[in-house]
């Protein structure tokens, strides 16, 4: 019976003069979110509200699912709109609505009318009372509870009358594109897609960088990352994925740097390359999936040492998360299944049996000094030969 949805947005409602920028971004993201859903939709803003109207036959469940993935939406209310044809007509419709949506269930309810059109003949309180009465008469199992009702029936009187009583929680956050752009270091693991999702949720457009090392890593490992970015894009919108061939720099480090420092030096160079790509793309921050203490390269000493090469802010939204918390989100956003496929990525290929867990910055810098010249050259080639894929 529902042909429309009222979209509730929280935080962005607070944004003073920029409000329309946020609302426009949200409208755009809703259209993007609905592009693969069966049916034709119109998204409109009016009087501080955003509505999604189905213009054709559509799939209700798919639509709701798509809307719950759009950042910036706090709640989605399936809604019925009718023309104003007098109060009696409205009352009859409301009685019919309650029956259709709730049957003759035992429940408590409250009518909440909003008279945005002030020339409507009845006042809000009066509307509440009379509609409540109508419902009580029609359904003996329903009772009024004005403090903690099971069902809050909202009736909004504008040019048309909107009726809704359910609110499905949205995923919150802010619409993509309202908060600049950041470069995500995306591996094939569980953490980095979650980190990207969390930053995207704050309205940040995500671009991603992946390091592969053929033939040590396979085409399938690369495909896995493309698949992950594609899954993320259901939330974030299209993701431009930069695929960096890291084989030569990695082999050079492997042959010329102290073995136990391998990972930390490699990560420093990855950050450098990612930052350079980020600058090129207009990103203003890097995003990683690091979580404090999870592995040798994520101790506080290691993070200090890798962080030192960057001038941009590095966002690590998972820093205080336990693995299980991360997995829970990964499952929710649908990246987990792909993340656990068993293909090696370049972080797992050349690892020392006993890597340093407490690297000391000046020692690492000294090791790097010896390989610097050649590494700069190799990294430049890696950046110049980067392959990009738009994942959506």
């Amino acid at each position: 019976m529902f042909k429309s949805f009222l979209i509730k947005y929280g935080e962005i409602g607070l944004k003073g003069k920029n409000r329309h920028v946020f609302e426009d971004a949200l409208v755009k993201q809703i259209y993007f979110g609905l592009k693969d859903v069966e049916g034709e939709f119109k998204v409109s803003k009016e009087q501080g509200r955003i509505y999604v109207d189905a213009l054709s036959e559509y799939d209700y469940d798919e639509t709701l699912e798509a809307l719950t993935r759009v950042f910036g939406i706090v709640g989605i209310c399936p809604m019925v709109q009718i023309e104003d044809e007098g109060f009696d007509n409205l009352a009859a419709f409301i009685a019919d609505y309650m029956g259709k949506v709730y049957g003759d269930r035992e429940l408590t309810f409250k009518v909440h009318a909003r008279r945005a059109r002030k020339n409507y003949p009845l006042e809000s309180m009066e509307i509440n009372a009379r509609l409540g009465e109508k419902i009580l008469d029609a359904y003996p199992n329903m009772k009024v509870d004005v403090h903690d009702p099971d069902v809050l029936l909202c009736v909004e009187i504008r040019n048309k009358i909107s009726i809704y009583s359910e609110e499905i929680p949205g995923c919150g956050g802010m619409p993509i594109g309202t908060n600049g752009k950041a470069m995500l270091l995306l591996s094939g693991g569980i953490d980095s897609p979650v980190a990207g999702w969390m930053i995207a949720k704050r309205g940040v457009q995500i671009e991603a960088t992946y390091f592969h090392a053929p033939p040590y890593t396979s085409e399938r490992a690369k495909q896995k990352v493309v698949d992950l970015a594609t899954q993320m894009s259901k939330y974030t919108g299209p993701i431009k994925l930069n695929i960096v061939n890291f084989t030569d720099p990695q082999l050079y480090i492997y042959e010329n740097a102290p073995h136990e420092q391998l990972t930390i030096i490699m990560r420093r160079y990855m950050m450098k390359i990612a930052e350079e790509l980020a600058t090129k793309s207009g990103s203003m921050a890097l995003v990683t999936g690091e979580s404090l203490g999870q592995v040798a390269s994520q101790t506080i000493q290691s993070l200090y040492t890798t962080n030192e090469v960057c001038t941009m802010p590095v966002f690590r939204p998972l820093i205080g998360f336990d693995k299980q918390d991360i997995i829970t989100i990964a499952e929710k956003i649908g990246t987990y299944e792909t993340s656990i496929l068993p293909f090696e990525d370049c972080c797992t290929i050349f690892v020392a049996k006993h890597p340093v867990t407490k690297p000391i910055l000046h020692i690492i810098q000294r090791s790097e000094k010896k390989i610097e010249e050649k590494m700069d050259e190799l990294c430049k080639i890696a950046i110049d030969t980067v392959e990009t894929v738009i994942c959506q």
Partner: protein
């Protein structure tokens, strides 16, 4: 298709003969009837099935009614193991399978164990060949089923089928002998009745036929129960609408693969030697397959010590060569089934094994290309072994 692509993964699957594809296409678009239907279209379709049966029965010298069509190797193996044990419960409780079976036998055997059967695992020698002396000791009055593969899919080792058949007749009179011939059919002439084989599994897509179809030869004296139930097709032993195009394609492929048979096999053996000669010249290589005609003509398994299979595989991919990792065991996967492990190979050998598998279309140029890539890339790859 890229002309330069070298396909040496024929044990995984093969290219379908164009004649087979054409025939199947014709059946799908013209003779599309259901053989169970009693009208013109149904009769047409039934004729294809009848014809396929005649061809296959003749090829392996059995009666037409002893051929049962299935969806391929896995179903044939499942039916053989589960169907036979279930129908012969009262005859005995003991089943023997070899240590190097394909998962469709190994996993089914595990299931039999769960159901309460006593399953013995027959060990193999360091060459991957069934240990015949141990086999003899395992046979008992209580043995109802022995299952072994004819040609091992990972190494090409050949089981002493005739000897095993004879021993079964002598020492386990109640046992039926099932042979998984998925890798052997088309490479050996197989006559179940002369080899004491009671059940034989064959798959279409390993012999340039279609995927999703195969057959199980079941000697008429074998007691067997169905594992799928439904419309009662194939005398109630395998319900489900007959896969007419698949069955016709399977039979034509079988006929074609056994045409000019001797010369095809001789050519493959020559190529096998050529490849083994080529890679034996390289340092730190271990050939896991048996050389020469003691083993199958089309499978060569070799370990390139110090280079992980996955890495070498990726290198081959970049050079347009398709091969397989030689062992089902990898660092991130749990061991599924590893013939090399059963042969007592160490981790280094298992970790670096590659399987090359040929078919009648394989050429000298392809083999040489393969050797060339190895000669060029191995030194580079070995520079970066894991410390």
């Amino acid at each position: 298709m890229d002309d330069r692509l070298v396909y040496l993964d024929n044990s995984a699957t093969t290219r379908v003969y164009s004649e087979v594809a054409e025939l199947m296409c014709k059946i799908m678009t013209e003779d599309y009837g259901n053989p169970s239907s009693r009208h013109t279209k149904g009769i047409e379709a039934e004729a294809h099935i009848k014809n396929a049966k005649t061809i296959l029965a003749k090829l392996i010298k059995v009666n037409e009614k002893e051929i049962l069509f299935t969806s391929g190797g896995t179903e044939s193996n499942n039916l053989a193991l589960i169907g036979v044990t279930e129908a012969n419960k009262r005859a005995g409780n003991h089943v023997i399978v070899s240590d190097i079976e394909h998962p469709s036998v190994a996993e089914t055997a595990k299931r039999l164990e769960e159901l309460g059967y006593n399953v013995s695992k027959l060990p193999v020698t360091d060459k991957g060949v069934v240990d015949i002396a141990k086999f003899k000791e395992m046979l008992t009055e209580d043995t109802v089923l022995v299952s072994t593969m004819f040609v091992n899919n990972e190494t090409g080792a050949v089981a002493p089928i005739e000897q095993m058949g004879a021993l079964i007749r002598e020492h386990a009179p109640k046992a039926f002998f099932h042979v998984d011939a998925v890798q052997a059919f088309g490479k050996y002439k197989i006559y179940p009745k002369k080899m004491n084989i009671d059940l034989l599994s064959v798959s279409g897509h390993k012999i340039h036929g279609p995927k999703g179809v195969g057959f199980l030869y079941i000697n008429e004296k074998v007691k067997i129960k169905p594992i799928m139930f439904g419309g009662g097709q194939q005398n109630g032993l395998r319900s489900g609408t007959d896969n007419v195009p698949g069955i016709a394609g399977l039979a034509l492929a079988a006929q074609m693969i056994y045409t000019d048979f001797e010369s095809k096999i001789a050519k493959m053996y020559a190529l096998k030697e050529r490849l083994i000669d080529g890679i034996s010249r390289m340092p730190d290589v271990y050939i896991n397959s048996i050389r020469g005609e003691e083993a199958a003509p089309h499978i060569i398994n070799a370990s390139f010590l110090g280079v992980r299979s996955e890495v070498l595989l990726n290198t081959f991919v970049a050079s347009g060569i398709c091969v397989s990792a030689g062992s089902a065991c990898s660092s991130h996967k749990q061991t599924v089934s590893s013939t090399l492990k059963a042969m007592g190979a160490d981790i280094k050998r298992m970790d670096s094994a590659i399987r090359f598998s040929m078919c009648e279309f394989t050429t000298e140029e392809e083999i040489d290309r393969c050797i060339e890539v190895l000669e060029k890339e191995l030194p580079m790859l070995r520079r970066f072994v894991r410390k």
